[in-house]
């Protein structure tokens, strides 16, 4: 058999090698931008609180008094060894921030992604198959509006409805303070910790808090998925092999399922995977809207304190995540589509 086996590992190595320059560029951009900021990062964030001497000391400790290129290489070294340093304003190690708050962002992102898939894929497929029908138009309008409305607007509307008027769901935080206090922290992912602890009340509480933020973010993504799936469906249905299958008397339902839908999804895996960038931006905004204790929320806090070290660290992390997901997507595509490996 000519497929799989030797060419897949080689393909993976190729992709990884191509990604390295990308990470480098992103990381460099972040570095340069933040260094280029006028004014001095130390005084900007803690200037009011520390004396001049103490500030000078801080600057030396952070290596800010050294020439730019030296700082750059130190920075690269730090990134490579995953030492992101400490924040300026409260001396917290950035890795700690990531550990404690990353789980919440991850939970939100995964939940939202699943909701978006569940809504977006079927609706997009229907819209593509029944082009220009009433259903198609309605679905497309839905797709446009979910994307046009900012995620925080949806958040506001959901809060008005579900938290305000109906009072069904909470509008802030990941769980009630009681739950957070009671559930033992093992994985730093609240939902999983609650499940491990076997505390069903806590699990319900966490899920209740998760619904609105996840649905809000998921709705945003679903709009894009609808559009992508629809376009892909349209192009796939024009495929010659679709007509050939029909010529063999294959029923419409089977043609859609086995030929059209599956083939339409393949290029989508790549594109949907690229939405991880959007997912992250959306997560930051969603966390701000619902006071969700994730990395995005922390990022905003530190931005308001003009703590460039924290901002740099968190954003660099985001950049690395984007790139890793990109590699993962490429590999998944290679697994699904036998043509790609060649």
């Amino acid at each position: 058999m000519a497929s799989a086996g030797g060419s897949l590992p080689r393909y993976i190595v190729q992709r990884v090698l191509l990604i390295v320059p990308m990470v480098l560029i992103l990381v460099t951009i972040v570095f340069l931008l933040l260094r280029v900021a006028p004014g001095d990062p130390v005084s900007a964030s803690v200037g009011g609180r520390l004396s001049e001497a103490a500030q000078a000391e801080r600057r030396a400790a952070l290596g800010l008094d050294r020439p730019l290129y030296v700082q750059y290489f130190e920075y690269l070294g730090d990134v490579a060894t995953l030492q992101f340093g400490e924040t300026i304003s409260d001396n917290r190690p950035i890795l700690d921030i990531v550990k404690e708050n990353g789980g919440a962002t991850l939970t939100l992102a995964v939940a939202a992604f699943l909701i978006a898939l569940a809504i977006g894929l079927p609706l997009g497929a229907i819209a593509g198959r029944f082009r220009d029908s009433a259903g198609d138009v309605v679905i497309r309008i839905f797709g446009v509006i979910t994307y046009a409305a900012p995620v925080f607007y949806w958040g506001l509307l959901f809060q008005l409805l579900f938290a305000g008027t109906l009072g069904w769901l909470p509008s802030s935080g990941a769980a009630t303070p009681v739950t957070i206090f009671e559930v033992e922290t093992k994985t730093h992912i609240l939902l999983i910790d609650a499940i491990i602890a076997g505390d069903s009340d806590a699990v319900v509480d966490v899920l209740e808090h998760l619904i609105l933020p996840a649905f809000t973010l998921g709705l945003l993504l679903s709009g894009i998925f609808i559009r992508l799936v629809r376009v892909n469906m349209l192009q796939t249905l024009q495929g010659d092999y679709i007509e050939a299958a029909r010529a063999r008397g294959i029923g419409e339902l089977r043609v859609l399922r086995a030929h059209a839908y599956r083939n339409a999804l393949v290029p989508l895996v790549t594109v949907i995977g690229l939405q991880v960038a959007l997912l992250m931006s959306g997560a930051v905004l969603t966390e701000a809207t619902f006071n969700w204790p994730g990395l995005g929320n922390e990022l905003i806090e530190y931005i308001n304190q003009r703590d460039y070290a924290a901002v740099q660290g968190i954003i660099t992390l985001f950049a690395v995540v984007v790139v890793l997901v990109s590699i993962a997507i490429d590999i998944i595509t290679a697994l699904i589509d036998p043509r790609v490996r060649y």
């Binding site: 931008l33 900021a37 900012p150 607007y153 506001l156 192009q235 931006s281 905004l285």
Partner: protein, 319 residues
Amino acid sequence: MGITQRVIAPFKQTTGLARWILLSGLVLVALFILLAIFAPWIAPYGHAQVRVDGEMFPKNGPPSAEHWLGTTEGFYDVYSRVIWGSRTALQVVIISVVLSVLLGAPLGLISGYIGGWLDRVLVLVMDALYSFPSLLLAIVFAFLLSDLLGGGVLSAGVALTVIYVPQYFRVVRNTTISAREATYVEAARAMGAPRRTVITKYLFGNVVQNVPVIGTLNAADAIGTLAALGFLGLGIQPGEAAEWGYDLQRALPGASAGIWWTGVFPGLAIVLLVTGLTLVGEGLNETVNPTLRKRRLLPFSLPPRETAAVIADEPKDDR
């Protein structure tokens, strides 16, 4: 074809559903452009006005005769701020799109035409920028520029520029590469036209046709990103100009108390304007992208068959 004609051509070629999409989008966008231009005359109050005739506006007042859409917790008039917000949004978006095109298109042109290592480096940089979450990039730039340029419209516009440069770069570069190989360019060069002439005269026009689609979709994204920056407190400062995202941030705490007018209306404005721009962009895309066009067969009625007897008797044509 003149450049204006080339830009307008996609608008003229649309038919059927695509045309409806395009038209409704244009109507929405036109509405906001009018609001933006005539803001000083339409808006009853200034964007930061909190009192009239010495009397303060109510705090979080519901919609009333004096304040059609109510007031905010900062004593602002919602209706006025929605209108002034149109002006802000359009100013920022125009700055951002124009700058992006001015940066991205020439780079794409040069990169595509010259090729080589310059091209490869630029492509890598642009791809990296493109794959990065645009909001985060905007945050970084806003972070920087707020010190340099203040918290006004210009600073926001510039902050939003870099995000969109890669798209123009890419599209212009790809069109350049395919146009470069076209025979009429070869002929021009055979006649001894210098490189610069070839680029500006022959390739530019070809490339301009793609810009309207991307431009409108970018504008839609820019409005959203501007609002996001405003929501996070990184955008335009309240004193400088009215901005819908900022209003939404201020409206959030009141949501659980049931104060809906402070957020629903600015948000609605965002939705309408972005939808309008997206519809225009999508409508154009259906025309410009030929693979999506459906070749439609028109209905007609099949006339009855003529039998051999009929043909035999009447020596007329069989129409």
